[in-house]
Assembly symmetry: C2
Homo-oligomer: 154 residues x 2
């Protein structure tokens, strides 16, 4: 089958209920603790969790260099689904070089467990390939492990 | 001042209240009557007026050739604002070549009148220029006149 959405997908069964995963995604203090693979860190988070609201999580590498990561929420369904993209800034202002849409879903997977699915969809096959080579599977996989570790402490 | 949103703007004072203009935008049977400059016509409309919902209005030239025009709603505020883009299909699936975001606002402008503003924002300066050369001002201006003519009959 073709891949019209130029998709990369990561799925994990996480040992925490979906309400806790949703909190880790939407509480800025929690998001800051897991959203980038260590030893990188998140220097600052500024989020307005509603369609059209700002998503900003500034990443910092081990040398202290910062990388802005800006976009908006497209859709938010409590404890179920979060969709974000870097294609806009708030006000639906188009940004210079749209790269991807991130679709995250949380589904019950037995008592206290969640099927966590993170999809990155791209506008072009080239961007999908770039993202895969940047280490999508390793990076998002490590973040999923950090997310699980944090959610289990809540 | 710079134009980071690569914007084209059309503003008109229309001799109809904003509730009627909103209806002309969101009732498929009405949308079909004004949404393309004559003698072009709209062959089919399929719309689901909510964030993430389909926007489809197939245009037909005087020779009968059809041109699909597909996208989604980003934001809908009754009688106030409609934002659409061709950058996604429903499900927030990225489309091949995102061209623009259309921001339409309706503001009261005295008894029975509306300040109608239609903004086309683009991801690149090239797309903005292409759109301007395609006849943005003439085309959207003629549509605004057709919209007013229709709204006054409601």
């Amino acid at each position: 089958m073709s891949n019209p959405a130029h998709e990369l997908v990561l799925t994990r069964i996480i040992d925490a209920p979906r309400e806790k995963l949703f909190r880790c995604y939407t509480d800025p203090k929690l998001l800051q603790k897991w959203f980038v693979p260590r030893p990188w860190t998140i220097a600052a988070v500024d989020i307005d969790v509603r369609p059209g609201g700002l998503f900003s999580a500034t990443m910092k590498d081990p040398d202290g260099k910062e990388y802005p990561n800006l976009g908006v929420y497209l859709e938010v369904v409590e404890n179920e689904r979060i969709v974000t993209t870097d294609a806009f800034l708030p006000g639906w202002i188009p940004t210079g070089a749209p790269f991807m849409v991130a679709h995250v879903t949380f589904e019950d997977a037995g008592p206290g467990k969640t099927r966590y699915t993170a999809r990155a969809m791209h506008w072009t096959a080239e961007n999908r390939e770039t993202h895969e080579k940047m280490g999508f599977h390793e990076g998002w996989g490590q973040c999923a492990a950090q997310l699980e570790e944090l959610a289990k402490t809540l």
